[in-house]
């Protein structure tokens, strides 16, 4: 169980999973821009809150919580770093506003984690590859992308097996100085690389045998079609963008400290 589970595709059926990855991608991009645009606490908290229903709609609350918990450590570090640097380098601010600025930076980080987590939890790499393909990116690149994703778990498992095989021959991974530790990885890296090369040759052979490169106009079993929900998501995203631009240019955002003290 790690923080990365909060970014790994989780196959459940939900309205969010069925959405066009391109629509979701636009959503992620816009949210990214908007999040970076604000450095006040209030709009960032709002951004955080408006995404929560989305998480529940996608039925990935548990995994999302995991990404949140996993990023807590980083969040604390970001908070402390901001606090310290603002305190020591910008002497004229009050402690309250420093606190709020640091909190805002931390929430910004959390919102970004949340946004990407939603995207990756609900978008299968297959869909992502398809979205790339239909965005007129050369097929070779899309294929390399999906294949890489496909073989990550296989390689991870293989690395574990190799490590076990060498440990069974008395290799001790821990202990020793820096150079010894580096040397300890050689018996693991070499078989891993050799096997990866062998595997890629076999893959190439299989691809050749299935008419790879036969036709310039490759067809596709799946075709992405934007549906009403997808268009709606893009519209919502655009509205968020427009409102945010308007607010950041025309509205003087009050800080929480000001609200509390006035």
């Amino acid at each position: 169980m790690s923080m990365f589970d909060g970014f790994k595709f989780r196959s459940v059926s939900s309205p969010v999973h069925q959405m066009d990855p391109r629509a979701k991608f636009i959503y992620v991009c816009i949210l990214f821009v908007v999040t970076v645009m604000f450095s006040n606490l209030i709009p960032l908290i709002i951004l955080f809150l408006i995404q929560v229903p989305f998480v529940f709609m996608a039925r990935v609350q548990k995994e999302w919580m995991r990404s949140m918990k996993g990023s807590a450590m980083f969040a604390v570090i970001i908070f402390v770093m901001n606090l310290l640097s603002l305190y020591f380098y910008t002497g004229y601010e009050t402690f309250g506003s420093i606190l709020e600025r640091s909190l805002a930076m931390t929430v910004r980080f959390i919102v970004l984690v949340q946004t990407f987590s939603i995207f990756f939890l609900t978008t299968s790499p297959d869909m992502l590859g398809l979205a790339l393909e239909q965005s007129h990116i050369p097929y070779e690149i899309c294929f390399a992308f999906t294949t890489a994703v496909r073989f990550v778990p296989v390689l991870a498992e293989e690395a574990q097996t190799i490590m076990d095989a060498q440990k069974a021959r008395g290799l001790e991974m821990e202990g020793g100085n820096f150079f010894k530790r580096i040397r300890n990885y050689i018996p693991i890296l070499i078989p891993l690389i050799v096997n990866a090369i062998r595997r890629s040759l076999e893959l190439a052979e299989t691809m050749e045998s299935r008419a790879w490169g036969a036709n310039r106009n490759r067809t596709n079993l799946y075709v992405l079609k934007m549906r009403r929900e997808d268009v709606l998501l893009i519209l919502i995203s655009l509205v968020i963008l427009a409102v945010s631009i308007y607010v950041s240019m025309n509205v003087q955002m009050p800080s929480i400290i000001q609200l509390l003290t006035s």
């Binding site: 076990d164 095989a165 060498q166 440990k167 008395g170 001790e172 050799v194």
Partner: protein, 283 residues
């Protein structure tokens, strides 16, 4: 619960062992077993029944989530893998998961160096292992230049070099042709005769029928039967439960049951003897 680990007869004892992988897969669910010093055991069962997980407990690569594993009287949680590995040699299924050296000789000395043997002993052991597996001519050759069967032998030599008391082979017959299997079988039987405790993990019924070891059948993380090859492999119910197949010879005798033939036959020469007696007499 008292168990007899005092007796030095018991080389391997597993006492109600459970193991759950970090991803939540329950691979072992209450395994109890005893393997004596010098015994020859085949662990059989479908892929995913927990065979490999089980043997990884013997050299301490995995530690039980619940229960105890004792090797030669020592509980595996109390010692490191490297300490256990001196007693337990585990040869993995795919030799390519361990070969990395520039020459066969270096590959074989890898473990010996890890265990801290002195130069002289290392040289002696390497020579011995090269001879044992008939690899002398490849001493200075890169293991990557060898054929699949030869790579498998190098992997085996690199484990046998330190002369472990227990030798475990995970799926030794995969990818081997008939000749290589026959050679491997003779080698394994010889190792066992020399007093080693030998454990093979396999789903190759014909190979097991020819080796004639004690069989432990696994299914869904449990051992469902232990016994002589002749008893286990001819028991259709058990064999089906473990998704292993009946040996070909047993299938023939199953069909002949109505004619009063014995059912518990696994070996082709024994089968020929029985048939010779019955059919020869009719002439």
């Amino acid at each position: 619960m008292p168990i007899d680990n005092g007796s030095d007869e018991q080389m391997i004892v597993m006492d109600d062992v459970y193991f759950t992988y970090p991803n939540g897969v329950e691979a072992l669910m209450g395994v109890n077993l005893k393997i004596e010093d010098g015994e020859f055991v085949a662990i059989m069962g479908q892929n995913g029944a927990g065979k490999t997980t089980l043997v990884k407990h013997i050299n301490g690569l995995l530690k039980p989530t619940k229960g105890r594993v004792l090797i030669d009287g020592v509980e595996t949680t109390k010692v490191s893998v490297a300490t256990l590995a001196r007693k337990v040699g585990l040869v993995f299924q795919n030799p390519d998961h361990q070969l990395f050296s520039e020459t066969v000789e270096e590959e074989i000395s890898f473990a010996l160096k890890n265990f801290g043997y002195d130069e002289k002993t290392i040289k002696k052991r390497v020579d011995w292992a090269l001879n044992l597996l008939d690899l002398n001519e490849y001493r200075k050759v890169s293991p990557f230049m060898l054929s699949g069967g030869e790579r498998k032998r190098v992997a085996l030599a690199s484990v046998l070099a330190w002369d472990p008391k227990i030798v475990i082979l995970d799926e030794p017959t995969i990818g081997q042709d008939y000749r290589q299997k026959e050679r491997l079988r003779q080698f394994i039987v010889q190792l066992n005769r020399q007093g080693k405790t030998v454990i093979i993990v396999t789903h190759d019924v014909e190979f097991v029928a020819e080796c004639n070891p004690t069989i432990m059948l696994m299914r869904q993380g449990r051992i469902i039967a232990t016994g002589e090859a002749r008893e286990i492999l001819t028991n259709e119910t058990l064999v089906n439960q473990a998704s292993v197949a009946l040996p070909e010879i047993t299938k023939i005798f199953k069909g002949l049951e109505d004619f009063g033939f014995p059912r518990k036959v696994i070996d082709v020469y024994e089968a020929a003897d029985i048939l010779y007696e019955r059919l020869g007499g009719q002439r």
